[in-house]
Every structure is written in C-alpha cells, then in structure tokens.
C-alpha cells in the first residue's frame, strides 16, 4: 500500500442557504480544495461524493461546474459518516495505486431537503422509530445513563456546548459564533430530558472537500502535504452484544484499528475533531477514543483538558454544535480542520505546534445496531 496525503482542503460557508444549490455549495468547497492543493482540476482522476438528502449523481453535479467530466465518480451514503466514507474510499484507491490524485466531497442542503424543518427520521418501518425513537431521544437516553453511571450532571453537558461555542466564536466559518453561558444552555428549551435546544447541533447547509494524492502527486505541488497515517471505517454491532449506551463499541473499534494502523496511541494526539451532534455524546467519545480511562470522561471534561489551551483540545473548529452539521459534509470537514491545524493556519483557534490529529465521525441510528457507521482518520505532519 502506498502512502496517501491530503494535498488540499476546502469548505463552503456553513449556515442556512435555501437559495443555494447543491452544485453551488459543493463547487465552493471543491474549488477551494483544488486551489489549496495547487493543482489544476483537470489533474483529478477520481471523485467520491456523499450526500444524505437527496437526489442522484451528487459528485457529477458539483464537478461539472468546475470543468471536470469523464473521470470515475462514485457517490456514497453512510448517514453522517458519508463524508468520511468518501474520503476513505478515495484513500483506498490511491493507496492501492488505482489513481494518483482525486477529490472527496461531502455536501448537504438541509433547508431544501425532504426533511427540512423536521428531525432526522428513522426508516418508516423501523420498530423503534414507530414507537418514538429519534436522534435526540437516543442521545437523551445515553445522557441519562451517563448521569447514572458516570456522575455526569446537566451542567457538564451544558459545559460541552459552551466549550464548542467558545471555539466556534473563533472560527469565521461557524454557523453560530455566539458564546454561551452554562445558564443559557440549561435555560434553553428542553428537547428530550436532559438535552436542551442549545445542546443540539443546528440544521446546516454546507459542503467540504479534500484533495488527496500519492507521494508522487504530493511532490508535484507546493502544498504542505499532510499524511493520512490511518483510515478506518466500521459498521455497528448488534445491540444484544453491547453492554450499555455509554460506549459505542463501533467507535472504540474504529479508533483502536486506527491507532494500530498509525502505530501511535491516544497519548500522542495533539488535536481531535469528533461527532458532537448532541453535547453529551462527547463524553462517550472521550472514552471510546481512549483519551481517558473508562468512567473518567466527566473528570477529563471538568479538568479543561479538552478545551483550547488544554492537554488535548477537542473540536477547536466549534464542532457540529457551533460550526454546524451539514450531514454528509461533516465527515470531510473534520479532516479539513485537522489538516488546517497541522498546517498551523487556524488563527485564533490554532492548537500550538499540532503535529498529530484525529478526525472521527459517526453515522446513523437503526433498531438492532449500536449505530450505523464510525470512521477515524489520523493525520500527521
């Protein structure tokens, strides 16, 4: 297998842009990534694109406006992990030698999607969905367990949202750049006890893209190449094999595989971007990623270690909570943020001297599985 490098990253604005088509959002991100990589779009040999809602040939729709046609384009869907899946698919094609340079794009227009203004619904025939299961409900039940098993308090969950918004306030691309207080988060409308509105990610339109290449392709550009030291993607296990809601076995498995692939451990990480669609879940990811021993995630949060300036900053971008969550874009976007962090170009939210970063994404809830998909990428310079 060949080494694979991130050559360029790009992101559209994140927010509510109902007037903006998928093609336009995707073009903004793809064009930025291609320019960042210092290549001509004509050099792209393959593209993987992801979108959850809805429509066909997303990649072709985006790339045609950049003068790119005829190449192999694959469109993938894996719920919120769709973008990570696109990146990993391209990674594998480059590692295997099928292509030297390509682009992965994630794009979502939530405001024009068929579920605009609604919760992300389970499949129509999903038993739990028929009984009232939704994303916020599932994460609320997980939060309830965290309060029982970990001694977490609603204030802890609120603090995670406060941290995300503190970080997002430093990111010019964030959908919500307003700093919040714990009291404001707790005082916002209750969604599913203990999760309040300001502990939920917003609906977001946006896109992100990365250009990946082989060592030879990297050598042809002036871009600072960031090596993908690990790329993993796994699906969930049956709930009858998962002990509790306070760990997502698939997330822990994706991380363990990534650490093995990269030959490093969680103690070697400088910065992390992860799935925080709901504030409370961040605690679960701390433990599943091995940032602290089981049962100690609340202590890690309270110590300030995961805030900017701490030992291992988590979601310096503002995360899904503040930056926003255009579903299929988020899995690509976390890799954009880690790349920017490792290149030292994150301005006020820069983690000083970051050399090793981890981008995680999670996708999908379905009856019978602990979750749909989990992906981890480890990047190094």
């Amino acid at each position: 297998m060949r080494d694979v490098f991130v050559l360029g990253v790009g992101q559209s604005d994140f927010g509510k842009f109902p007037e903006c088509s998928i093609a336009e959002l995707g073009r903004q991100a793809a064009q930025a990534a291609i320019a960042d990589a210092g290549i001509d779009a004509g050099e792209l040999q393959a593209a993987f694109a992801s979108r959850v809602y809805e429509g066909m040939i997303t990649g072709q729709t985006v790339l045609k406006d950049l003068g790119v046609a005829r190449i192999e384009v694959v469109n993938v869907e894996n719920a919120c992990a769709g973008g990570s899946t696109a990146v990993r698919s391209l990674y594998k094609d480059i590692a295997a030698g099928y292509v030297d340079v390509g682009i992965a794009i994630g794009v979502e227009s939530m405001t024009t999607s068929p579920i605009a203004g609604k919760l992300i619904p389970p499949a129509r025939d999903d038993l739990d969905g028929q009984l009232g299961m939704t994303m916020p409900v599932w994460f609320a039940l997980q939060a309830q367990r965290l309060m029982q098993t970990h001694g977490a308090k609603p204030e802890d969950f609120a603090r995670i949202s406060v941290k995300a918004h503190d970080h997002g306030a430093l990111n010019e691309r964030a959908q919500y750049r307003k700093r919040l207080t714990v009291e404001e988060v707790l005082g916002s409308r209750m969604i599913a006890d203990p999760i309040t509105l300001l502990q939920c990610c917003p609906n977001t339109d946006g896109a992100a893209a990365v250009v990946l290449g082989s060592a030879e392709a990297a050598a042809r550009t002036d871009a600072v190449a960031v090596r993908i030291a690990a790329s993993t993607l796994v699906s969930g296990d049956f709930t009858f094999r998962t002990a509790d809601l306070t760990t997502l076995e698939l997330g822990a498995r994706a991380a363990a595989m990534a650490y093995e692939q990269a030959g490093i451990g969680p103690e070697d990480l400088d910065v992390i971007e992860l799935h925080d669609a709901f504030a409370s879940e961040e605690l679960v990811h701390y433990e599943d990623l091995g940032l602290c021993p089981r049962g100690e995630a609340v202590g890690l949060l309270r110590s300030g270690a995961t805030a900017l300036g701490g030992r291992i900053p988590v979601n310096p971008s503002g995360g899904l909570l503040s930056l926003g969550h255009p579903l299929a874009a988020s899995g690509v976007r976390v890799i954009c943020e880690i790349t920017d962090q490792l290149r030292g170009r994150c301005g006020d939210r820069q983690v000083p001297g970051a050399k090793v970063g981890l981008a995680q994404m999670l996708g999908g809830v379905v009856n019978g599985l602990d979750a749909g998909a989990a992906s981890v990428h480890i990047l190094t310079v």
Partner: protein
C-alpha cells in the same frame, strides 16, 4: 366499529397470565433476539424457537420527550427496559403524573393503542411501573 391490529405480527400476544413480548431463541447458539425474525443474527442459523419474554422488566433509563415525534406527543416518556434474559427493549413509558420512573424501577408490560389509522386502532407494547399496573388490576 373500530378494528384493533398489532403494529406488526409476532410482536406480543395475550396469555392467561397477561401480555407477553415475543422473541426468538437460536437452537444452535442460544442467542435470544427481539423482535422475532427468521434468522439468528449471532450465528445466522435458521433454526429458531419462538419464546415469550413475559411481561416483567426493569427500567434502564427514561426520558421525557418535549417535541413531537412520529409516535409521541410533547410530555410523553420513552426509555429502555431490560427484560430477562437481558433483552434491552425501547418502549414508551407510563409516567407517574409528571415524574419519570427512576432507573431500576420494576416495570410491567401492557398493550395499548399506539395510534389510529382511519377506523383501525394500531396496538403496541408499552411499560408502566409494576405497582401501578397491579393497582389498576
């Protein structure tokens, strides 16, 4: 006249001892899986026995849902109940007034209308704190 139909077949049934949820146990590996299916998800054997999970469980956790969902109104409660032999079941929950039952509460299965489709009442399972079901009976 209103017809009552279960949400899906082989989900629950009435017995002389009260309602029971239905599951399958694999004849090959012993895995119990709810809801009923025709393939063991653990070992993929097709040799399965339908079993009754009974009507007793223990509340793992619950939440009050404050926005409408496909099946609940604001203020309704849902949660997970653990039934012997350790099957975790997502379910709607009867509250005690405005209060959620505490984790660890002994829960009792009951069959109740989930929704009405035209003239058809769709029945599903839900759980209530055990002492309340006993008191009602």
């Amino acid at each position: 006249m209103t017809e009552a139909v279960p949400l899906r077949p082989d989900l629950f049934r009435e017995t002389p001892e009260g309602p029971t949820l239905l599951a399958v146990r694999c004849k090959s590996c012993g895995q119990v899986v709810f809801p009923v299916r025709d393939l063991c998800l653990a070992c993929r054997s097709g040799e399965l026995t339908m079993i009754e999970l009974g009507s007793d469980g223990e509340l793992l956790c619950a939440t009050t849902v404050h926005m409408p969902t496909q099946a609940t109104r604001p203020g309704d409660a849902v949660g997970y109940v653990i039934m012997p032999p350790g099957v975790r079941v997502f379910t709607q929950i009867d509250k005690r007034g405005d209060a959620l039952p505490e984790p660890g509460t002994r829960m009792k299965l009951r069959i109740a209308p989930l929704r009405t489709d035209g003239d058809t009442e769709v029945l599903a399972y839900r759980f209530a704190p055990a002492e309340e079901v006993t008191a009602d009976a």
